[in-house]
């Protein structure tokens, strides 16, 4: 009997709480794809940020006497131009480093613009429902019926290609997935009792949407954002390749592939190097996106 009272009276102390950041860190380190993806992405971001210091040459300076030097792993390669030079004698490594800036700028800006548009529309549709939802769903359907590449091509050739044009165009075209995801996650949460409680407390609708609802759907939106970033980077490369995206002499990776295409049978590295760079960047972003999705998944989470 005395034993029984003892167990009943001794308060059940919970285990020392593992700090939130520590748990996130452990999950992060335990996910191989996420690790690899974020390391590659971090390297590319750092390379782009420090391009002026890392690049051995000016990416715009032409030197016709030095044209078409192959990369270092070829017999004729030199340490002066590690990745060789293009048909105008510009250093390929320098152009690649500066090109990373363009790809990342477009990826991030387009994803942010489309994220703002899509999240706003999706949250409004999901929260208010009814007629607002009907109108916004119609807009989403209309957008989904438009072929992105075709519209981007038509608009870019109409307005004239430039970095800003590409960013604005892609930002205005890639918001559909944000809207769909924001709408459905908001619908799940709008009847939650913590939202009702905030309403009863007298919180304004903007406060409820931004401070109570948004933090709860943000993790899903971040995953969408990584996917759209990769999407935007590929579309920029495609538009630049077709000559209506970023204009020469800017060192866009898509443009580098386009400029090298006539040499691809005899000097395949001219298109292989920017092509591989694009692939690695998009792969890294997708790995990060998948990893973030897994980390937010409910299983294994208390």
């Amino acid at each position: 009997m005395s034993n029984l009272t003892l167990t009943a009276n001794s308060s059940i102390t919970s285990l020392p709480a593992v700090p939130e950041w520590r748990r996130i860190m452990n999950r992060f380190l335990g996910h191989r794809g996420l690790m690899i993806g974020s390391v590659i992405l971090a390297v590319i971001i750092l390379a782009a940020l420090f391009a002026p210091w890392l690049a051995p040459h000016d990416p715009y300076v032409q030197n016709v006497s030095q044209r078409m030097i192959p990369p270092i792993w070829h017999d004729k390669g030199t340490w002066n131009h590690i990745l060789g030079t293009d048909k105008l004698g510009r250093d390929y490594l320098s152009r690649l480093l500066y090109g990373a800036r363009i790809s990342l700028t477009i990826g991030i800006s387009a994803a942010v613009i489309s994220g703002l548009i899509g999240t706003t529309l999706g949250v409004l549709a999901g929260y208010f429902g009814g007629r607002v939802d009907a109108v916004i769903s119609y807009i989403i359907t209309t957008r989904l019926a438009l072929p992105v590449v075709l519209v981007a091509l038509a608009m870019a050739s109409l307005v004239g290609g430039s970095l800003q044009t590409v960013i604005v165009l892609l930002g205005l075209l890639l918001w559909d997935r944000f809207a769909v995801v924001a709408r459905s996650t908001t619908q799940q949460l709008r009847d939650a009792e913590f939202i009702a409680s905030a309403k009863v407390l007298g919180a304004s609708t903007p406060y409820i949407l931004i401070r109570e609802l948004l933090p709860n759907i943000l993790s899903a939106l971040i995953v969408v954002m990584t996917l759209e970033m990769a999407h935007a980077i590929l579309l920029e490369a495609a538009l630049s390749f077709l000559g209506i995206g970023v204009q020469p002499p800017s060192p866009s990776w898509g443009l580098m592939v386009a400029e090298g295409k006539s040499y691809m049978f005899f000097q395949p590295w001219v298109i292989a190097i920017p092509g591989v760079a694009l692939m690695v960047l998009v792969l890294a972003i997708n790995l990060v996106g998948d990893g973030l999705r897994d980390m937010n998944a409910p299983e294994g989470r208390s």
């Binding site: 709480a17 939130e20 939650a192 009792e193 913590f194 009702a196 409680s197 905030a198 309403k199 009863v200 407390l201 007298g202 919180a203 406060y207 109570e212 933090p215 709860n216 989470r301 208390s302």
Partner: protein, 277 residues
Amino acid sequence: MPDYALELSNLSRHFYLKNGAFKEPTLLKAVDGISLRIRPGETLGLVGESGCGKSTLAKMILGLLEPTDGDVLVNDKVRGASSRLAMARQLQPIFQDPYSSLNPRKTIEKIIRLPLQLHKVGDSNSQRKAVKEISDLVGLPERLLKQYPGQLSGGQRQRVAIARALILRPSILVCDEPTSALDVSVQAQILNLLMDLKKELNLTYLFISHNLGVVEHLVDRVAVMYRGKLVEQGTREEIFHHAKHPYTQALLSSVLTPDPALGVPEVLDSSSWDKAS
């Protein structure tokens, strides 16, 4: 002192249920002309089966749903006439599900403090002090304040919800099945806490429940709801021992008792009280 803490006058809420494009929508009278009065300091139990309109009624009292007809008077003032903020200081809810009533992305401290911030009461130091005081009052250990709702048990979460409801010192609490999502042992703790708080803070309760055992334990008066209408109301004694309406009698006889000799309650035939109501 107002005459009545909460007064419902002929409150109704009707819904139209769509039956497809070419058929007439059906009219559902979720709440149909309910009049109720609760005196300050009184506890009124509102009972009825699932789907009888209890929660719709609670939503209208809280201002989450507009009534089709009738008025809600809080401390003798019509609900729609004063601002949401003013209403929030007089009347607060405690919801059924403590798992969805707390924002999972905020710490407990932030959740309890939110009402003070929305109502701009005091500076951040005094707000933090008030959070500690109220947590103490509802029996919430201080170490939990830095944690997230996901790290708390159901009973602890319901204590958080109670703390949040009480921090503005309202005079009326609307409890919509506050214990039905909890373990039986925790239910008793929360009910005792609610009773202690009532004495300490002189609160008025509208206690909505389908659990007659719970209601008998703590209310002064009982109102019985059936299909959107009030079929009977009276003191606890009257309802539990001298119920007049056949539905109330049926509801009382359907309570599961621990006595094995009584067996499982019979399935009830509703025809007798449908005619009566």
